[in-house]
């Protein structure tokens, strides 16, 4: 699918370079000539938004790292010094902390879009799995970053999450001690979390390159879920996709700016403005909002080891989605039943998110168990059976036909 490059530099120096390193042609074929389906809607701009957010996080993060001190006695005050004394430090810090949430909002929309339009299906399985890996790396990076201000929720969040690994039979305690670098969450923990928090975004960037590479080999899926058949079905990436992505990135930035400038602490926890204190446990230890559905799954299971397995399983199962969904029709537009189950699944995920923020007791635990069961049932029961029994609508002959039919 990679568009054949028509790139022929006029400039003599660029011609000289191109003969030796055809980087101009690579950029041209990837981001200019690359054919994109002409029927993409705005849900397809979230890939661009995610690349933009990764850039924002890396740039703000590098500057923050110039002012931050990863030491248990100094970390909290160094973040406060950024907020108070560094020029525009408050802006950098709020961009970075809210940027993490925006990154996750965008990735959730991106993932659900892929689910709705069947973007994980043949020939895009590897593309999808690379995406799941990026998501997993994002979760790790977000968690590590949240510990760095060394507030109460940083400390206790780190304690709870690292304790998951103590559920591993036999070697659990050893693994946790090894993760902590000691017998409790302490200075070695903070040091290594800082190191890893700086490292992982570049690992993400590397996997993003693979993700985009795979995308450019198989081409983008589209709302009709059928592959382009002729040049009439596609438009070149530039100017069509660039201007559309550019427009929606700016629209997304309006929401981003709203949080940064007007409600910068809405998505955080008040407890994290209290310096970490190993002697005082907060009333409710709640992870960041983007982990809440998985936190609910963890706590829904009475056994610790099984809970941890269910939590990791709920993400791992995404990697098998291309084979669990047996339908040969990609887009939910032509799958009336799947469309309803899709929205039910979205509602279940939101419901689990809500339960993750509630104490694990009484009625909450019961609902969490039902929703956890449904979460897995969606993948293991609903999707395989739907592909067999669902009566799908007829597909259009081509992308241009589906566009014309709507016009």
């Amino acid at each position: 699918m990679s568009g054949h490059s028509t790139y022929q530099p006029q400039n003599g120096f660029l011609q000289w370079i191109e003969k030796r390193l055809p980087i101009g042609g690579l950029i041209h074929s990837s981001f200019v000539a690359y054919p994109t389906p002409r029927n993409l809607n705005y849900w397809w701009t979230f890939g661009g938004i995610l690349s933009f957010m990764l850039g924002v996080q890396i740039i703000t993060g590098i500057v923050l790292a110039m002012h931050y001190t990863p030491h248990v006695d100094l970390a909290f005050n160094s973040v406060e010094a950024i907020m108070r004394d560094v020029n525009y430090g408050w802006l950098l810090r709020y961009l970075h902390s809210n940027g993490a949430s925006m990154f996750f909002i965008a990735v959730y929309i991106h993932i659900f879009r892929g689910m709705y339009y069947g973007s994980y299906k043949e020939p895009r399985e590897v593309l999808w799995i690379l995406g799941v890996i990026i998501y997993l790396l994002m979760m790790a990076t977000g968690f590590l970053g949240y510990t760095l201000p060394w507030g109460q929720m940083s400390f206790w969040g780190a304690t709870v999450i690292t304790n998951f690994f103590s559920a591993i039979p036999g070697v659990g305690e050893t693994v946790v001690t090894w993760l902590w670098g000691g017998y409790a969450v302490g200075n070695p923990t903070l040091n290594r979390f800082y190191s890893l928090h700086y490292l992982l975004p570049f690992v993400i960037a590397g996997v993003v390159v693979l993700h985009v590479w795979a995308l450019h080999v198989v081409g983008q899926n589209n709302p009709a879920g059928i592959e382009p058949k002729s040049d009439k079905d596609t438009v070149p990436f530039t100017p069509y996709a660039t201007v559309k992505d550019g427009f929606f990135i700016v629209v997304f930035c309006i929401m981003f700016a709203w949080f940064v400038f007007y409600t910068p602490n809405y998505l955080g926890h008040a407890d994290n403005y209290i310096p970490a204190n190993p002697a005082v446990t907060p009333a409710h230890i709640v992870p960041e909002w983007y982990y809440l559905p998985f936190y609910a799954i963890l706590r829904a299971i009475p056994d610790k080891l099984l809970g941890v397995l269910a939590m990791f399983g709920s993400i791992a199962i995404l990697a098998f989605l291309p084979w669990l969904d047996t339908s040969r029709v990609k887009s939910a537009r032509y799958r009336p039943l799947y469309r309803q189950f899709f929205w039910l699944f979205v509602a279940v995920c939101i419901g689990l998110g809500w339960l993750g923020s509630k104490p694990a007791e009484g009625i909450y635990t019961l609902i969490a168990r039902i929703l956890t069961f449904y979460y897995f049932a969606h993948f293991i029961i609903v999707l395989p059976l739907l592909g067999i029994f669902e009566k799908t609508k007829p597909l259009p002959n081509s992308i241009s036909e589906s566009v014309l039919a709507k016009a």
């Binding site: 849900w43 408050w90 427009f247 400038f261 409600t263 403005y273 509602a347």
Partner: protein, 279 residues
């Protein structure tokens, strides 16, 4: 078309989630009264601190709270910086000089010298252990970030509305409520030793005795010398101490919003023009 349908479905899913949320949160809110929501000059997109209020709040802090509560991340110089209480540099120099700062002289001997604008506010106790020992076992919390470190559960539908109304004032509301919330314990309430009854404190048992009463601090700008006014003023001051760049943040935010709206408009029409040949 599909875009529209998908949005509708998303909205449906969200309201379904919200309907579920409603029941749970309402139950959780029972038993503990919410701090009253006050009107703050610094709320909303154009919010800004009231200099007079911050100066009064500082007076309350200095004369009452500072005998137990430190404010170790705030420097004297901050009091003269833009967006704050608006003291002059001369006033700040004079104020700093009222404080004694522990330091070393050039021979390495421990000395106490007069404070300078660059110094942080000295803490009332030598260390956290001394603070705890003098206050029934728990050190009084530092004021530097306290206004952002206290909150209460807003409940449905407020947690959604708050995003759009930009409500960020749980901290000052809570601080004001605590200060005006001292009451006699109701009949049959068992008060542990050293505890004080407070209507708004979680669990109602607070270690801090009622810190301030009507007429305790003299205001020279004609503001009412009441507990309610003191509480509002010191809460506003603490919000400034916790978020000294709040005014600059909201002002820059408005400029950024205008820029983004104009840019998105221009890009929208560019996009329409570029795509017009395809559709």
């Amino acid at each position: 078309m599909t875009m529209h349908r998908t949005f509708t479905a998303l909205a449906l899913a969200a309201s379904l989630g919200a309907a579920v949320l409603g029941t749970g949160v309402a139950q959780a809110a029972e038993g503990q009264p919410h701090p009253p929501s006050l009107k703050w000059s610094f709320s909303g997109p154009f919010g800004t601190f009231d200099q007079g209020q911050l100066q009064r709040g500082f007076k309350v802090y200095k004369e009452v709270c500072a005998s137990c509560h430190s404010m170790s991340l705030v420097s004297f110089r901050n009091l003269a910086e833009a967006g704050g209480p608006g003291f002059s540099e001369k006033q700040v120099e004079a104020l700093a000089a009222e404080y004694k700062i522990k330091d070393l002289d050039d021979k390495g001997e421990a000395i106490e010298r007069d404070g300078r604008p660059a110094d942080k506010f000295p803490a009332p106790f030598a260390n956290a252990l001394a603070a705890a020992a003098a206050n029934g076992g728990v050190a009084p919390p530092d004021f530097s970030t306290l206004a952002k470190a206290r909150t209460y559960e807003r409940g449905f539908p407020w947690w959604i509305i708050d995003i759009f109304s930009q409500f960020q004032e749980q901290g000052p509301d809570y601080i004001h409520a605590i200060l005006v919330g001292y009451e006699d314990a109701p009949q049959g309430f068992t008060m542990p030793a050293g505890g004080n009854y407070n209507k708004y404190f979680p669990g109602h048992v607070i270690a801090m005795p009622k810190p301030i009463t009507d007429g305790q601090v003299t205001y020279d700008d004609g503001a009412p010398q009441t507990l309610d006014q003191y509480s509002r003023d010191v809460a506003a001051f603490m919000m400034w101490a916790a978020e000294p760049h709040l005014v600059a943040r909201k002002r820059l935010g408005f400029q950024v919003m205008i820029f983004l709206l104009v840019l998105s408009g221009l890009l929208y029409f560019t996009k329409k023009k570029v795509w017009s040949a395809v559709h």
